[in-house]
Structure formats: C-alpha cells, structure tokens
Amino acid sequence: MRIKLHVWRQSSRSDKGHMESYELDNVVEEMSFLEMMDTLNEKLTVEGKEPVAFDHDCREGVCGMCSMVINGEAHGPKSKTTTCQLYMRHFDDGAEIFIEPWRASAFPVVRDLVVDRSAFDRIIQAGGYVSNHSGPKPDPNSIPIEPNIAETALDAATCIGCGACVAACPNGSAMLFTSAKASHLGLLPQGQPERFDRAKSMVSQMESEGFGSCRNYAECEAQCPKGISIAFIGRLNSDFLKASLVEPIDRRGDMKAQ
C-alpha cells in the first residue's frame, strides 16, 4: 500500500507547530496503525530526520495511552477501537491520512502527537476514589450488590482515560470521563458516603481545568473506544443537582441552634 500522511509536528509546548506531509510506500494491510507509524519513524530515523513522537504503550486497547485524531476522528474511523487496534486494512491504497493530537486547552501538546493529560489525574484526585486505607475489611459478601448494578458500574469503569471524549467533543468537554468515573463509584454501595461531595468536587475540578461545557451532542459516546454511554452524564448531572440544591451543605447542621 502507498499512503500519504499529514502529521502535526510541534517541537515543544511553546512551539506553534505545523502539519508536515510524508509518503510511505511499504505499508501492508496487516499492519496496525501504530506499526505504520513505527515504519514512518524508522524511515525518518534512517534519513536523519526527527521521528514523530506519539504516546503508546500496551497496544492492546486498554492502557489508554495512544491518542491520535485520525482524519478528524479520535482514534480513527472504526468505532469502539483504540488507535493501537486500528489496522491499515481500514484505509484504501493511496489514502491521504491526517494525524493530529488531541486538541483541548486542558490537554496542552507536549511534542508532536503527545499531549499532557494530567488534568484527568487531577479530576480523580478531586474525589474519584473511595476514601480508604489498606488493611482488614469486611467480607465482600456481607454487602451484596445487585448484579445489574455491579455490571453498570463496570460499564462505567471500563473507561480507559484516553481522553478521546474531550478530543471528539466540539466543545472540548470532559463530561463523559468525569461522569463515568463518578458513576462507577456512585453506583456501588462502597461509594455512597462520598457520592454527592464527589460529584461536586470532581465537576468543580473539571471546570477549573478549562474543559468546555457539554451540549449533548453525544459525539463523545460515538468516538469513545469503549463505547461509554452518555447516560452517565445524565447521572452525574442529576447527582450534581441533588448535591447542589437538595443535599445538606453541612450534614452536622441539625445540631446547630435553629
């Protein structure tokens, strides 16, 4: 296969960056997209040019490290597929392929296609956990969980934190990520005590990171490599509303002089 690539090149955070074009003629259909990128980099290295920096690690679709907008779509044209599991047979011989990094002010480009996604870690730090210490715990079967609830929680927890939702959203919103994380814990009995505080603090962190607002396009869901449902966004909205309007601000308030 012959392909023509247009790749975003940017040497550092402060560099303005530009698209650069390359041609590859030794691509085969069985190659994964990242193997095609390896081939390009091998070629550039041998030619004495700088290879394209891109994030990748497990190459089996779970680590969430790979992050490329391919022909305008996060992780490329195939739905429910990460870039590393995309194969060249999904492209035509002679195809022109545009490769760009995730675009969001909360995900600054570090170099070429590598972006800084630490904003996601900080959203988790704001409350994406069940407060806990390591040590003896009650037997799990002492708190039965309805299997459907456990499965829905797992649906949400399947999120690999790649950031495709942000990249795909025309508003650069991180609601799908945040809501999946909040819903995973909010659905389970272990996550109940902190459920409403969690909703408030994760949303507030998400806002301060500079992500845009959700306008219910559902583009995130369509481009999510794990197919996370926007139903979780509705869930977070509802939890956030309850937390803001209904839940007591200070649960100890009852003992204050009324």
């Binding site: 305008g72 545009f98 508003n171 219910n216 559902a218 139903a231 509705g234 909205n237």
Partner: protein
C-alpha cells in the same frame, strides 16, 4: 440563594438554567400554539373571531382579583427573564467552549452529532431575532407589513399573511424553531438527569413528536391564510370586544 449562586457559577448549573428556562419557553410555545389554533374555530354569534376574544381574555385574565393586565404582564416578565437568562448562559457556555479548544482541527469529522445539535447557536440567534420582530409586528404594530389595528387579531393576521413573503418568512422561522426544539427538548431531559437508558427511546420520540405537533400547529396559521383558506372576518366595533 447561596446555593443558586453556586449552581449558577458551575458549568452544569448554567446548563440547568438553560434547560429550565428552555422548559418555560417550551411551555409558553405550547400555550401559544393552543391559542393560535383559535383562528380556525370561527367567530361567536356577534361575529367576533374567537381569536380576538382570546386576545382580549389574555389582557383581562385575573380580573377582578388582580388589576387588568397584571397576569399578562407577570407572564411577560417571566418570559422576558427566561429569554435573557437562556441567552446569557448559553453565550457564556459557548465562550467557555471556544476557550476549551483554542486550536481547531485541520480535519474534523462527526460520528454522531446531529445538525440540529451543531446548529443550536445559529437557530437560537434566528429565534432571538424573530422574537423581537414578532413582538414589533403583531403585538405593538410597530412594523407594518399589512393593515394593523390593535385588538383585531384575526384581521391583522389575515392581512399580513396574505403576503407570501411574510407568510413564507414565518414558516421558515417555525422550521428553525422546530430544529432548535428537536435538540433542545431532548437535551433538557439529559441535562436535568431525568433521562435513563430505559426510557430514552420514549423521551426522544416523545420530544420529537411534541415538537413536530407544535411546529405544524404554528405553520398551519400562516399557511392557511397564505393559501386563502380563511374567510374574511366581519367588521365589528371595538367596543363589542372590550365590553365598554
């Protein structure tokens, strides 16, 4: 109040405000279209079109408990506040979103987003402009596109909508409103968190169906006048209507 302020400051809170004000405006449209349909029910035995009577009723509704016009003006104030809030939060959110993606993609492709969703800002702007125009046209009579006389709703409509450009313009805007509502109504359920995978299909279908019904109702009026399906109304003295 503190809670409302906090809510307003958050992205989700702003969206909730857009949804709630949207709901109010949607409710208004329902009432508006219901009233509009009175053009088709003819006149009373004095020859006064039902729609004219209805217009008069709105002015005096609440009497004698409230002074004449009080209820109407309260409703108008709520609607005005809703429109202003709706536009304010939406513009603020749009500015946030623009900041969230300072560099746009060279290539961009959508897998799911509907045109209705992507064009919300456009359809919203058209509607905002239309609201101003519509008030100046049929409420205050400032813009004259035909014969206009306060209180003679039926004749005013008939006069304006017999002009194909006016009727066509109104029909076009109604379609735009339909597109806006098609995304807006469903979006409201999602934003308020009352969507649910089990009922989403119903919610989506229901919101599309209701939207279609409203818009067809609205379009029916200019269309009927345009195609000359509506008889001329009898001339009647204004006093008959107001009872003075």
């Amino acid at each position: 109040m503190n809670r409302i302020q906090t809510l307003y400051k958050s992205i989700i809170g702003k969206k909730v405000i857009a949804a709630v004000t949207g709901l109010i405006l949607f409710g208004f449209l329902l009432g508006h279209v219901a009233g509009n349909l009175k053009v088709f029910t003819g006149s009373n035995d004095q020859g006064i079109p039902h729609i004219d009577e209805y217009g008069q009723f709105l002015k005096v509704a609440g009497e004698p408990l409230l002074p004449a016009g009080a209820l109407l003006w309260s409703a108008r104030l709520v609607l005005l506040a809703s429109v202003i809030l709706h536009i304010t939060v939406v513009v603020q959110l749009a500015m946030l979103s623009a900041e969230a993606r300072p560099v746009s993609y060279v290539k961009s492709k959508k897998k799911a987003a509907s045109l209705a969703a992507l064009w919300m800002m456009f359809s919203g702007s058209v509607i905002a402009g239309f609201i101003v125009f519509h008030i100046l046209h049929f409420t205050t009579g400032t813009i004259q596109l035909g014969e206009f006389e306060h209180g003679y709703v039926y004749n005013n409509l008939r006069s304006s909508f017999s002009n194909p450009f006016v009727a066509g313009g109104y029909i076009f805007v109604m379609v735009v409103i339909g597109v806006h509502l098609n995304h807006g109504v469903w979006s409201m359920f999602q934003t308020l968190g009352i969507d649910n995978p089990d009922r989403n299909k119903f919610l989506r279908t229901a919101s599309t169906a209701v939207t279609m019904a409203i818009i067809l109702g609205f379009i029916a009026v200019p269309a009927s006048f345009l195609f000359g399906l509506m008889p001329e109304a009898a001339n009647y003295a204004h006093d008959l209507l107001t009872g003075h």
